[in-house]
Symmetry: C2
């Protein structure tokens, strides 16, 4: 007799929740909980029922995380694992550790890919991985590596420090270039084309994500300040 597939609840069925469902549907019995978005062919459940799954994937914006954690906490089963996927890690880690019962595992993660970059598959893409509580993270990391992901273990603080550079600077520069209006294309150099491509890739990101990256990462403001000071100091 085969072991039954684990039950996976995806809470928040936006762009990332849908991407996760596509790649995990052959490996888990998935249910979805979202007040607005519906999955055509997956069971739609309330938060209390979603909380009774084996693995609970929180694919909600950071601004909703505290409320969702409060609502699911009383319903989580011993041994369940709760995983978030927001773009910063210190604040979600703090919330999950404060609001979730001791009998569940907690993993704070940040997939460094999305529907656009993983259009041709998730193999080779990277996932920042911060195991916070429980031992189930080893088996789950092995599963994700088997899917082809590069699972990079780190801490919430180290993650946010690196991402203050990686995402903070990319978004800061992208928004600043966007504010200058249309960019020249006829005389564009190869290096300028890389700059424009960097800006293009993140310009469709939501205001909510921009706010998370710039305001909810405690390392972001010092990096932003250093970049602005450096830019002001550049002279020929």
């Amino acid at each position: 007799m085969k072991t039954p597939k684990p039950r996976l609840a995806i809470i928040g069925f936006g762009a990332f929740g849908q991407l996760a469902a596509r790649h995990l549907r052959d490996h888990a019995r998935i249910c979805v909980s979202d007040p607005v978005s519906r999955a055509d062919d997956l069971p739609q459940v309330g938060l209390a029922e979603a909380a009774r799954a084996d693995v609970i994937l929180l694919a909600v914006p950071l601004s909703c995380l505290e409320q969702v954690l409060t609502e699911i906490a009383p319903h989580l089963r011993p041994g369940a694992v709760v995983i978030d996927v927001t773009s910063v890690k210190l604040r979600p880690a703090e919330l999950m550790q404060a609001l979730l019962p001791d009998h569940v595992g907690i993993i704070a993660t940040h997939p460094l890919f999305g529907p656009e970059s993983a259009r041709d598959g998730i193999a080779g893409h990277r996932l920042a991985w911060c195991p916070l509580r429980g031992g189930e993270h080893r088996r789950l990391a092995a599963f994700l590596r088997w899917l082809g992901l590069k699972v990079l273990t780190t801490t919430p603080d180290q993650h946010d420090a690196e991402m203050a550079m990686v995402q903070g600077l990319t978004h800061l520069i992208s928004r600043s270039l966007g504010a200058l209006g249309p960019m020249p294309t006829r005389l564009a150099t190869a290096s300028f084309q890389h700059l424009i491509e960097a800006a293009r890739m993140v310009q469709a990101d939501s205001p909510e994500l921009l706010r998370t990256i710039l305001c909810e990462n405690p390392h972001a403001e010092p990096v932003r300040r250093r970049f602005l000071d450096a830019a002001a100091a550049v002279t020929g």
Copy 2:
């Protein structure tokens, strides 16, 4: 009887002068004039003799241009064509028109490539092209197109306006990122990698080139100011 190949004097035998010599040696009788760099197998001449060629390519830094123009001016033959390749165009155009005799053609150009980007050949690369005096530019543009270059006709002012964005922003951002110290690589996103690649491609450019791009382009300072204001205004 074949028409003899034109005589081409390359004044300034730095990275770009050497690149030009490699790609033009089969098509012209080349001589080189440079106070320091020597060409192993090309005749080395003084400025006065270089000025007597059919085509004179000025591959010197902008800071030397006025002096070189003053020295070659009395020796230029009627019908000769003088071409510069500096990274801005208003200032060199002004100098060439003021200092060169009426009996020579003048073309201000800016090759949007260099030894690194044209490592595998010049075909497909772009050249900003500002004919300023004389009619010989049509035949020369046709020759360069035959070599595979994209010859983009523009004016010095239009060139400098576009380049204030293209080169001004690339160098400003590159230098600012450089000032922040080592960039994270483990958690780098695809968009951040484009940013880092843009910065890497120009980081070896000389201080002289940086000064030219930021200080000798009258459009550069307003663009720099607008970028800094936009960056300061980005909030989550």
